[in-house]
Symmetry: D2
Subunit: 353 residues, 4 copies
């Protein structure tokens, strides 16, 4: 099978460079071009490198950044992965879809649009069908978005639990990594030896997106899920990996061991389809008393290609009729670029690409 040519938009940023990492030697996709704002035009990836723990191939490091040009991209690429900043993403992604390009976006701009799937293949694969109602679909162009990074890590185990036990309420407090703020992002003076209990727009996103993702597709529309979702978000001095403290009031009460079993046995569609970036175990339940931790678990996931794509859950315990647990996911892989690439892999499996 010939590989599908794809563009990476926002290639100078944190998420953009994670896209590049994941697309090097991808079995379905091949990078057709790296695009960013005018400022970086003509520079090589190597000159604008921001993600530090990634080893890019020599040939990739030399690729030149081009200026974002809808016509040029649509001629060269069937699909585009967007790591654009929200304010730029809205128009650029719409234009690309109009020009017949399938856009897999990490930006928030189109997430809550009725006809745009807010997609996590482990959570709501059927929502992908929404693209068929997008006005540009007939030309081959459409937009699929992934969720906010902190919502993604939560949505995977929450869906497993929600399907099995129902949910009355979910109270979550986050411990979010610095890479989630992009680059330069958080000034070091603000966060070294400190915690900042505020991330602009984050709580609102978490409280809105989860209802859409856990919603069901009925008559071509998403019927929102219904429970109390209460989020509080903070930034901590950690490079990668969003940790979340979760308290759940289940629809029907259940002991912690039943919840653990449900999480461990969760095998949704991407795992059944064996999509390249789907980790064998989408949820890894830790038995240790003090896990998951960003330093040890951010890169959880097998095989090698799927490192950083598993969600780690630990300390599942009950208290006064509630279930408490901690979860951790890699915010720029599972909750960022990796999510969008997995979305595109599902689109390939469903013959949309």
């Amino acid at each position: 099978m010939a590989k599908i040519k794809v563009a990476v938009l926002g290639a100078t940023g944190m998420i953009g460079q994670r896209f590049v990492q994941l697309l090097e030697d991808h079995p379905y996709f091949e990078i057709g071009g790296l695009y960013a704002s005018e400022r970086s035009e003509g520079k090589t990836l190597n000159e604008v490198l921001k993600v530090k723990d990634v080893r890019f191939q020599q040939r990739t490091l030399g690729v030149k950044i081009e200026q974002l040009d809808v016509k040029a991209i649509s001629k060269r690429c069937r699909a585009a992965f967007s790591g654009l900043p929200t304010e730029v993403a809205k128009d650029a992604e719409s234009s690309l879809a109009a020009a017949g390009v399938a856009v897999f976006s990490n930006a928030a701009s189109h997430r809550m649009r009725e006809d745009v799937p807010l997609l996590i293949p482990e959570v709501n694969p059927d929502h992908l069908e929404l693209v068929r109602s997008q006005p540009t679909f007939s030309s081959g162009g459409f937009i699929v978005t992934n969720a906010n990074c902190s919502t993604t890590g939560l949505a995977v185990p929450l869906q497993a639990i929600y399907q099995k036990f129902g949910l009355k309420a979910c109270y979550v407090s986050t411990y979010q990594a610095l890479s989630g703020a992009g680059y330069p992002g958080v000034p070091s003076m603000d966060i070294l030896g400190n915690v900042v209990p505020f991330i602009r727009g984050e709580e609102e996103k978490m409280e809105a997106e989860i209802y859409k993702m856990l919603g069901t597709l009925e008559d071509g529309k998403v019927r929102l899920a219904d429970f109390d979702m209460i989020a509080s978000c903070a930034r901590v001095p950690v490079v990668d990996g969003h940790l979340e403290s979760v308290v759940l009031k289940l629809g029907k009460e259940a002991p912690a061991k039943d919840v653990i079993k449900t999480l461990e046995e969760f095998r949704p569609e991407p795992q059944r389809l064996k999509l390249p970036l789907a980790p064998i175990h989408p949820i890894i339940v830790r038995q240790e008393e003090n896990r998951p931790q960003p330093a040890t678990d951010a890169l959880a996931g097998e095989p090698e290609r799927a490192r950083g794509m598993a969600v780690s859950v630990g300390r599942v315990r009950e208290s006064k009729g509630y279930i408490k647990l901690w979860l951790l996911s890699h915010n720029t892989l599972r909750g960022g670029a990796g999510g969008s690439v997995l979305n595109a892999e599902l689109a390939v499996a469903r013959k949309l690409l």
Copy 2:
């Protein structure tokens, strides 16, 4: 008025040295001796110094640590402040009380004893009366404990809210500082650029202590408060200051602004009595969108003597019928040594010392 001679137990530790700091030039108390385990006997405070941001007076730095000897202490001191490790504290504190010494303890050993007040003067000053039912009381000896550091910061604003609006549930996730683990405490390899979502015994303490503290004294016994208290505790790479994310279901629903007003107008007994360590404002409500933070607010409190004794609250907001807020308190001052000294000040005001 002649000053009351007091002993500091566990003077080589984090809490012990905070006791020393607070007792230098205290208007009611005077250090009669510094005591610790055999290992440190004969060393000066200067040689065993662990708290780094404190400036001790030259004369104090030269004071020699003595071995803990109940008889010697009871001869010399009317009261003792205990920063002993839990395993040592139980027997040592009991023996001292039996020997007629008033013990103000930071250790957990006696906290849940029916006749021991788990005291925060801003929260439950009347509980101090419990000491009268202790078997050693007639000899002048008794035990008063302060609460666990993370419970203390929570209890102050919670009491203000509970009294006014009632409470159905309190969901709290903590972001706790390193000094809470004592010294050497948390190995740097475990916490640098990381978060550890586990602190042994901490969630259990928070979930148990709060009911006793917010309970009412009826017929000489504490009648426990009744609401859902659900705690999840984590350690973050911060030196001082426990931050807590709090979600409340009030007894009767109220808008955020009423909660803010209630917190700002809270003027409990220690403030009315103008106790030396009582901060003018026991709760400081921040208006900024991103406060309180450990780096800026751990040492909140006026006047100078009461620095670190105020609890900072911020981002009080409502969502779907819940109140969300963040709070911060200094764990070894407000939640440690400062709490015990304030307890002793209340005991003086109530003529128990």
Copy 3:
């Protein structure tokens, strides 16, 4: 004595706010206005606050930032303290001097000008006389600069040693704090759990400035000092306090104990004059095997007003004919705003203000 009205330039920055801190209730000076670029015009100090560990007085917090206007400043203020960024400082400071204002600057722009003193009162008080040869001097306007922050901490003990033993070579490697880069300064992603072995222009400044400061005034000109000065500079994840590893080849070999004695007995002019910001001991020699450290020693200096103005030196030892030592100084106090205020105090003592 009526207080001298002074302007603070660059009041929204790290250094500017340290100026404000040091000028609150200063015995000689009184703040006449806070000035910054257009962007901050009309905001209060409170709204632009960047220095987090400082407690400003309520009245100061409400002062409004004004736009930098030479005419207005010269009418209102006799002197100005400049924390302006280098690119702005050059012209602004020249204009102010031309308008008759005495400028005490933390910027690098004029440091190497032949007729501008690069002044540390403990090191080269006589250099202040250079201002008399500035073209604007007759109108009362002149410029005095302090040294680069890392050079300052070095220059004080180095001068004590140089005067006594002479110097053949000084090899220094720095461990510099984040506040030295201003705000937002270093992105957290770049420095958390990391060290960056490069600070633009820093090594060049250290290698140039030290010769001028340790030089002697001959016929109204500075004759540069002459030895091998070799500097390597790195940024470390520390908030305040530049630590430096120093190796010295003395002019005449001497044992470590003689060097220690020389450092301890150093009592230069500001101490003899008892200038308000001059610490009683300009150099504090630590005896511990592991000091000085930023966490414990950045704020060294007595009395209270002079906290952060002393240079701490430790581990003075000899090896193969060299003297090795570590030194630490507060980069935005001793090496920043405090240095300039002390310069102005010397100017008052010498009747130049």
Copy 4:
């Protein structure tokens, strides 16, 4: 070729676990047993895991730790890799050598013994011959040590320079990682947001070991190198990777570009022999203005197996007749377990195993 059975001593520690990581699927060696003190006897590797960024194979994780027993080891294993603490290593290693086991040690105990090679295959491969003069050699037992972690990173580029240009003096200041102190090692309260300018015994080791390693073998003895080696050592809040600031006075002056060329062209014996752990480029010279950095360069080295075995050098520049440069090496791989395994590989190549 049948693999050689090897023991790992001190398998519960930081270095021990790096040995295990490097020996999984090693082409020459096979783990015959994991050994540690009594305390850990019977626990699995998984239960005592300290190195967090390493992925061990499932089968290895289940291996049980045995108590160190010379007889049992000598029966089962031809060689042993020792990550024992210095105080235990001395006798244990001697006994093993006496029992016919070839010991490759990371401990300091035997490093300066006249008949023990202090070996870095890139630096002084010929010193391996010293083992022939050890009293136990006839029985097959001998001891080979690697150097102190901070000395190792320095020795590789220094040897390249020394051989080409000679050396009059080397002034080095270190920025050392936490993993160098083992586990639990440095308390977090001591190092978060701080630098500690003292590591016990480290400067003495660096100043002594470098002369032996750069020395030449003459008549079966090492003739020490001769130049001024001056070291100052500090601990910084970094997990892995020792950074060093180096100033050199060459034997014959040379421009920076010649030094760079010499470093880049350095191809010593392990690279010529293509030993498994020998990185293709033993020294990687970075062109960027701000490298090497621990976060980006600690794991330098190709191929995959040799990650963490290359020494990165950057900012090679000249000033006043000196050469300045920064270097970085992974302290528990290149400067620890990896060094010893490479030593053993050289021993195989030279038919000593």
